[in-house]
Amino acid sequence: MIELSNIKKAFNQGKPNEYWALNGIDLTLEAGKVTAFRGPSGSGKTTLLTLVGCLSRPTSGRVRFRGEDISGLPERFLTEIRRQSFGFIFQQFNLIKGLSALENVILPGFPTGRPRAELVASASQLFAQLKLEHRLHAKVEWLSGGEQQRVAIARALINNPQVIIADEPTANLDTALCREFMAILESFTAAGKTVLLTSHDPLVVESSAVHRVVGIRDGKLTDD
């Protein structure tokens, strides 16, 4: 479903502080599976996810998504693919303060032009699935860490994407909440979604919910 061939990514290219975060990655990711990227801090995990998720473009190499080369597409098209096909769960949750949980969740639906009523209906359904109905109208800054993450998950799902990208999703959660998250992961797989996540938490990478673990070090894949 996603193929990476000889991906390289440089930051500040041509400047004295040039840094190659990815040094030639070749990887094929299967649809409907949960893949975890494991590696030390600074190894390039987040950078890899941004490339797959159309948040940035590789310096060289190709990214294919469902057979189509997306590495050279102009920003407008990348945005459209991102909106339709990818849902993001960020480590810092990245919710918009001052808005209610519901408003945050329906935000990715705005550019699609879906009517508000429809967006609110699907959001309510997601809140029910995530056992968060009682927090629908609460401002996000009043929510606990676990609740905030569930709002972030609902937001990632509102446009019904095929791929969920989660960067260090459990870094801010305690063990109980972490287990809860793994359960939610399994529901994604049951729904046929592809999941890419990064983590160095053994609780995550050794969980049965994860189908494949890919190691990264210094911008290169390690064999395991």
Binding site: T46, T47, L49, T50, L55, S56, R57, E75, R76, T79, R82, R83, Q84, F88, F90, Q91, N94, L95, I96, K97, G98, L99, E103, L107, P108, G109, F110, P111, T112, G113, R114, P115, R116, R155, N159, D167
Partner: protein, 381 residues
């Protein structure tokens, strides 16, 4: 039934909804901006409206006055026109009409104001009646049919019946005016028979006015011709000069406001930058983000413009621009108390609008645009 326009419309609705919610979320910043900006528009618009109204008023007043007024001077002071003087002018080519005028000031201790009494031919104002200006009528509570008495300077009491209140086309023109018959005027002021206050001459061709003035000065060396065009020019330059003074006095404050508003508007907080990144990451297009912020900027600046302008209109036309009074007081000396007739110049509004709304929107947009075109991968860090 497929409707192609509807998703687009829905999207715009979403953007506006979100904009309104955003404005509410940053109440202090946006309210501060609104107030500073509305104040700026208020001051500039007040000044523009006020001077423009004065200019219109002056032109209006002078349009009805004769092209040349001849005053007789004695020892450098304005004196009465003696009998026979009018005939001494003789025939001058280009002068359509010449007539002696009778007018004078009367102080009314009841309302503490000066009126201008002016004599009119008997066909216009019957003996024993007067016509009064609107402001005066208001001050003394007069209506057509009422009787009012004035004590003359010699102590005698004169009763007049109000024939009508002058139409307030231009209040400045007729505010304090009392029109009386010539006979009543002479009796009231004990004005010497055959004498006049000054002489009014009508000239059809404006090119001939200077020529005629020269001939008058030659024929009557003890007189002073006053030309309408000169008065008009003096007024204009006085208006411009006063507007300039006010602007200079205010420029410091205006500049401070502009800088404050600019800084507030163009400074994008880290929080706002983060939000733009989030919106882009979750699938908003650069254009959506910019459009949303454009709505925000327009909403603030248009509201501020409207508030400021309406405030200025009320300030100038209902309260007589009290804020500028210390600087523009001169007018009160020229024209004791008057209410300006609302006169708004479209071009002036357009100019003001352009120089306030446009830079503001630009100030808001530039940093937004810069933040919106960067790659959204920063939100992952």
């Amino acid at each position: 039934m497929p409707n192609l326009a509807s998703p687009w419309l829905e999207k715009q609705r979403h953007l506006i909804d979100f904009t309104l919610a955003s404005l509410g979320r940053r109440k202090t910043k946006n309210l501060g901006l609104l107030v500073a900006y509305a104040l700026l528009v208020f001051v500039l618009a007040s000044l523009a409206l006020f001077t423009n109204a004065l200019r219109t008023e002056a032109t209006f007043v002078l349009a009805g006055s004769p092209e040349v007024i001849l005053q007789r001077m004695v020892a450098g002071r304005h004196d009465l026109i003696p009998p026979g003087y009018l005939d001494k002018i003789g025939r001058i080519r280009g002068v359509q009409k010449k007539e002696g005028r009778l007018w004078g000031y009367y102080y009314d201790p009841v309302v503490n104001a000066n009126y201008t009494f002016m004599a009119r031919p008997a066909e216009e104002v019957a003996s024993g009646t007067i016509m009064v200006g609107a402001t005066l009528a208001r001050a003394r509570g007069l209506a057509a049919g009422n009787v009012i008495s004035f004590r003359s300077y010699s102590g005698k009491l004169f009763a007049f019946k109000v024939a009508s209140v002058l139409s307030p086309d231009s209040e400045l023109l007729s505010a304090d005016l009392v029109l009386v018959s010539e006979a009543d005027f002479r009796a009231f002021f004990e004005y010497p028979a055959g004498h006049y206050t000054d002489i009014a001459l009508s000239v059809a061709n404006p090119l001939e006015v200077r020529n005629i003035a020269a001939k008058l000065a030659e024929a009557l060396p003890d007189s002073r011709p006053i030309l309408r065009e000169e008065v008009l020019r003096t007024y204009q330059s006085v208006f411009d000069w006063r507007e300039g003074i006010v602007l200079t006095v205010l420029s410091g404050a205006i500049l401070a406001f502009v800088i404050l508003a600019w800084e507030k508007a163009s400074g994008l907080s880290a929080e706002e930058k983060r939000e733009i990144g989030i919106l882009k990451a979750i699938g908003w297009e650069t254009g959506d983000v910019i459009r949303m912020k454009l709505w925000e900027g327009l909403l603030i600046s248009l509201t501020a413009f409207l508030l400021g302008f309406v405030g200025a209109y009320i300030h100038v036309f209902h309260f007589g621009a009290p804020i500028f009074e210390p600087v523009l007081k001169g007018w009160a000396v020229l024209y004791p108390r008057f209410t300006l007739v609302p006169a708004v110049d479209g071009l002036q509004i357009a100019t003001l609008f352009f120089f306030t709304v446009f830079p503001y929107t630009a100030a808001v947009l530039v940093p937004i645009w810069r933040a919106a075109i960067t790659d959204p991968d920063a939100v992952m860090r």
